[in-house]
Each structure stands twice: as structure tokens, then as C-alpha cells.
């Protein structure tokens, strides 16, 4: 890079500005990265809990469904399941965690009362109710897991991006700028030295010319004073 840089004072000033800006950016990004990692660790703990909850709820729901199918028959369970007409609704909004936009998922109508499930109360049993209850709980935990895990994914991507930016500044841009700065400074110093040398040279030359001129003048004036000697005698 240094070879592409014009070794001028203006360029040096510009590079100084860029170095200052980059260092400030580097510090800020480092702080952001550390903050994101801390937030990520919190979300990671939450995600672990939520995932455990999903696994646990899934096992419970599946077991209750198996028991309902076993005791009430597949036909009765399928019939009760297909009777549902009001499906749950999901609203996705977004929230901001340290500049990262993550989804905020809100659900409605997941948990239902017995009379809202669409199947008749009189011709069904508590086994079907319990299987439905367990699946509603599972669905709620899946929605929560979707929110937390998407947030975690977004945070992870942002951490990666920030880390890449910090590294780019630390290991690429700043060293290059510093190298360019050193190069310009060296060049400028060299130019200064050359200038001084040139000035010295000019000065010496000038002094020599002046000395020569003085000597010439002295010679000229010496010859004129000897001329008036005439033959009076």
C-alpha cells in the first residue's frame, strides 16, 4: 500500500485522521463485541432452559397422546384434533438488543379452554383433554424457543460480523495506515534532508560566486590605480 501513497503532508494529515477514526472505531467495536458476547451468554442460558423445556414438554405431550390414542382409539383422537377450527395466531414484532434486531414472537389462542377446542365435551374423555393440554403447552414452549433461538442466531451473526470488523481494523487497516504514515514520514524527512542539502549547496555556490565576484572586483580596482603613473620627468 505504501507504494501507492503520495508522500505529501496533506496525505499524512489525512492518514492521521483515518488512523484516529479507525482507532476510535476499533475501541467502539471491541466494546460492542464484548457487550454482545455478554448478552449472548445470557440468551444462551435462556435458550438452554427453553430447549430443555421443549424436550420435556414434547416427551410429556407425546406420552399423553400415545395414551389417548391407545385408550380412546386413533379415530377418536384424530376426530377431536380435526375439530379445532380456531387456530392459534402468531404475531412477530421486533426488538433491539445492542443494535441487533431480534424477533419478538407473541402468540394468542394457543391455550384453550375445554369449550374452545372444537370437540364436543359430552362424547370425549379426560385423556383427550390432557393430550390437548400437553400439546398446547408444547406449542407455547416451541414459540418461546423460536423467539430465543432466533435471537441467539442473530446475535451470533452480529458477533461474528463485529469480530471480523475488529480484526480487519486491528490486523489490516490500522497496520496499513501506520505503515503508510511511516512511509510518508520517512519520505518527507528524506525530502527535507534533500532540501537542506540543496539549500546548503546553493548557499555554498552563492558564496563562491560572491567570493569570485569580490576577487574580480579587487583585481579590476588594482589595475586602475597603477595607470596614472606618467612620464613627467
Amino acid at each position: 500500500m505504501a507504494q501507492d501513497v503520495k508522500p505529501t503532508r496533506k496525505e499524512l494529515m489525512e492518514i492521521d485522521d483515518r488512523i484516529e477514526l479507525s482507532e476510535r472505531g476499533h475501541d467502539t467495536l471491541e466494546q460492542k463485541r464484548d457487550g454482545l458476547i455478554m448478552e449472548f451468554m445470557d440468551i444462551l442460558d435462556q435458550a438452554k432452559d427453553v430447549r430443555e423445556q421443549v424436550d420435556e414438554n414434547y416427551e410429556t405431550a407425546q406420552r399423553k397422546l400415545d395414551l389417548a390414542r391407545a385408550m380412546e382409539g386413533d379415530i377418536a383422537v384424530r376426530g377431536a384434533a380435526s375439530a379445532l377450527d380456531e387456530h392459534p395466531e402468531i404475531t412477530i414484532q421486533s426488538k433491539n438488543i445492542m443494535g441487533v434486531v431480534v424477533p419478538q414472537i407473541e402468540s394468542s389462542g394457543v391455550k384453550k379452554d375445554l369449550d374452545q377446542r372444537g370437540y364436543g365435551v359430552m362424547g370425549t374423555s379426560a385423556r383427550i383433554d390432557e393430550a390437548a393440554d400437553a400439546y398446547e403447552e408444547l406449542l407455547e414452549s416451541i414459540i418461546l424457543a423460536a423467539e430465543v433461538e432466533t435471537a441467539m442466531k442473530e446475535m451470533l451473526e452480529e458477533i461474528e460480523t463485529t469480530k471480523r470488523r475488529v480484526n480487519a481494523l486491528e490486523f489490516k487497516l490500522l497496520p496499513e495506515l501506520n505503515e503508510a504514515k511511516d512511509y510518508i514520514e520517512q519520505k518527507l524527512e528524506e525530502q527535507e534532508r534533500e532540501e537542506i542539502f540543496r539549500l546548503k549547496k546553493i548557499k555554498a555556490k552563492k558564496e563562491e560566486e560572491e567570493r569570485a565576484a569580490v576577487e574580480e572586483e579587487a583585481e579590476t580596482s588594482g589595475s586602475t590605480t597603477e595607470e596614472p603613473i606618467t612620464a613627467d620627468d
Partner: protein
């Protein structure tokens, strides 16, 4: 799907045939063996039993546990149809009115299928073809393209007026609940209304049994509604015909389980229900209580059949035991398929 004749009841003939059928039901040892078998072995076991014909007929269309379940349903329908075929006079009526629960089931299956966009074949495979509805009417149910058409098909049947009343509510709410509840309510209403004029002690006890079933159904529904946290008054789902509670009483008692249990212990079923009530007191879940209620009903019907061998009671006891067998074998097969432990499955079975 046969019709009642106007002759007198042929208890001797039907009870003799029922006894022979009852002897072929699986016993406790069979269940113990079945709970330790895989689904393939269960299917093989069934092929060598009462269910061989159904297993062979359905084997080309279904496999695994579905095959077992459909064979059980078809065999049950065949046996119950036989009962209707054999019985004459009031006995036919007693059996038919109980088997109307399958008519209600078939109508519910048809409307649920239509509502969920299921194919005709899928709906048909879920029907249990026994009960009072004729084959042609059942086929018309399957051919219906909308819930309203199903209601039209049932015009002139016992379910017609109830569905006519509920269809407006269905159209307003787009929920099947009003229709399903109307069907179940119509079934329970027809169970006890216009009983034939036979006033022997066995018939009286049979009617008492049916009323106990209505009471237990009311009890289960009220407790389920109360436990689900629903704001609906359990009285709205009250079925007439029981002798234990009025609709208002049931609504208020369901909120207070302790009071309800005390009331049941002091009521007409107190002694028989003590085990079920202990279950209700001890467990959070209603499942154990429901199972205990089933056991009470089954034990009661068996006792009646022993006390009155030439009456409706043995026939009815057979109906319940056949139902129990279907439920138990299905539970074992589905439980084994789902990888449940044999002891866990055995604990869920209703075995007397």
C-alpha cells in the same frame, strides 16, 4: 343395522347366544400375554382368535396397529349387529337404544371429516357400522358435501330435530361443538325416553344402570370443565335422566371437589364409587377417576347379569365387555407401538 319387531322379547335365545360369545372374549391371561407381545405378534394372536375374518379381510388395505384397530372396530360392529338381528321386541329396543351411540359417533365422524376436508375413504374407514342408521343413510352421510347436507340427510331420524336446532349456532360460530353436543345430548335423551312397558325387576335395574351412566357422564363432564378453567357453566352440558344431580347443583359442586366427593360418598352410588372417589381425591388427573368409573359400571352390569340371567342384563353386560375388550386390545397394540412398558399398559387396562 336391523329393525325391531313388534313381538315379545326372546331373552332365552339371545342370552344363550350371548353367553357363547362372552366365552370367546379375551380373559385376563390373554391380556397379560398380549401386553408382552410386539404389534406383529398381537396381529398373529388376533388372526388365531375371534378376529381372524376381519384381520384377513383388512390385511390388504391396512397394516400394523391400524389393521388391528380397524379389525377390532369391524368385529365389534358385526357382533353388535348380530345382537340386533337376534333380538325381538323390547329386548331389541333396549339394545338398539344403547347402540345409537355409534350412530352419534358416525355422524360426528362425518361432520368432523367434512370440516377438516378429509377424503370420503378416510371418513368411511373411521365409521363403526352398527346402530340404527341404515346402510343407505350412512352412505348418504358419506356422500354429503357440507355439514348442512349431513343435517339434511339426518332429517327424520332421532338426531334430526336436535341438529336442526344446533345448525344455526354452528353457522354463526363456525364451530362443531354445538352439533357434537346436540348429537350426544340426543343420544342420551333417547337412551332413557319412551322405555318399553316391561316392568320386571331386571328391566328396572337396567334402567337404573343407564341412569347411573348418565350421572357418571355428567360428573365427568362437570369435573373436566371445572379443571380446564373454562368459564362455561357445567350445567350447560348437563344431560337429563340421571338421578344424582340437577343441572344447577352440578354446576356449583364441580367448583368444589371436596364437597362433590362428600356428596357422592353419601349418595346412591357411594359404596360402589368409594374406590373411584379415593382415586379422585389422591390424583390431580381425572384419568384414574374415569377408569375407576368404567370399572364400577362394568362390575355393576356383571353383577346384574348374574342376578338376572334371563333378562336384558346379560346382553347388556356382554355389550359392555365387548366394548372393554376392543378398548383393551387397542390400548395394548397402540401402547406397544408407542414403546410403553407392559406394566404401564396393564395399569391402564380395565380388567375385572
Amino acid at each position: 343395522m336391523s329393525t325391531a319387531s313388534s313381538s315379545s322379547s326372546n331373552y332365552e335365545y339371545v342370552t344363550a347366544r350371548t353367553r357363547s360369545r362372552k366365552a370367546r372374549l379375551f380373559d385376563e391371561d390373554d391380556y397379560r400375554q398380549l401386553t408382552r407381545m410386539g404389534t406383529g405378534e398381537i396381529a398373529r394372536f388376533m388372526e388365531e382368535s375371534e378376529y381372524d375374518e376381519e384381520m384377513n379381510d383388512l390385511a390388504a388395505r391396512y397394516s400394523g396397529v391400524d389393521l388391528i384397530e380397524f379389525a377390532l372396530n369391524r368385529n365389534r360392529a358385526k357382533h353388535f349387529d348380530d345382537l340386533l338381528r337376534w333380538a325381538d321386541g323390547p329386548l331389541h329396543d333396549y339394545i338398539a337404544r344403547y347402540l345409537r351411540r355409534f350412530d352419534a359417533w358416525n355422524v360426528k365422524t362425518a361432520i368432523r371429516g367434512l370440516s377438516s376436508g378429509a377424503a370420503r375413504d378416510e371418513i368411511e374407514s373411521d365409521l363403526v357400522r352398527t346402530g340404527e342408521l341404515s346402510e343407505s343413510r350412512t352412505d348418504r352421510l358419506l356422500d354429503a358435501n357440507s355439514v348442512e347436507e349431513v343435517v339434511e340427510v339426518l332429517d327424520g331420524t332421532r338426531f334430526g330435530p336436535a341438529l336442526d336446532d344446533a345448525v344455526d349456532e354452528y353457522e354463526e360460530s363456525a364451530s362443531l361443538v354445538p352439533l357434537e353436543n346436540a348429537l350426544d345430548r340426543a343420544y342420551y335423551r333417547s337412551l332413557l325416553s319412551d322405555m318399553p312397558a316391561e316392568t320386571d325387576r331386571a328391566t328396572e335395574l337396567y334402567v337404573e344402570f343407564l341412569r347411573a351412566e348418565v350421572d357418571f357422564r355428567n360428573l365427568r363432564n362437570a369435573l373436566r370443565l371445572a379443571r380446564s378453567g373454562s368459564s362455561v357453566d357445567p350445567g350447560e352440558y348437563y344431560i337429563d335422566g340421571g338421578r344424582l344431580f340437577s343441572a344447577d347443583e352440578l354446576g356449583s359442586l364441580a367448583e368444589n371437589t371436596n364437597e362433590l366427593i362428600a356428596r357422592l360418598r353419601n349418595g346412591v352410588y357411594g359404596e360402589r364409587l368409594s374406590g373411584a372417589l379415593d382415586e379422585l381425591e389422591e390424583a390431580d388427573s381425572l384419568i384414574g377417576f374415569e377408569r375407576a368409573l368404567e370399572e364400577v359400571l362394568l362390575a355393576y352390569s356383571n353383577r346384574l347379569s348374574q342376578l338376572y340371567p334371563l333378562s336384558v342384563c346379560p346382553v347388556f353386560a356382554y355389550v359392555l365387555e365387548k366394548e372393554r375388550e376392543v378398548r383393551n386390545v387397542r390400548a395394548i397394540a397402540r401402547g406397544r407401538e408407542a414403546g410403553l412398558d407392559p406394566d404401564e399398559i396393564e395399569a391402564e387396562l380395565v380388567i375385572l
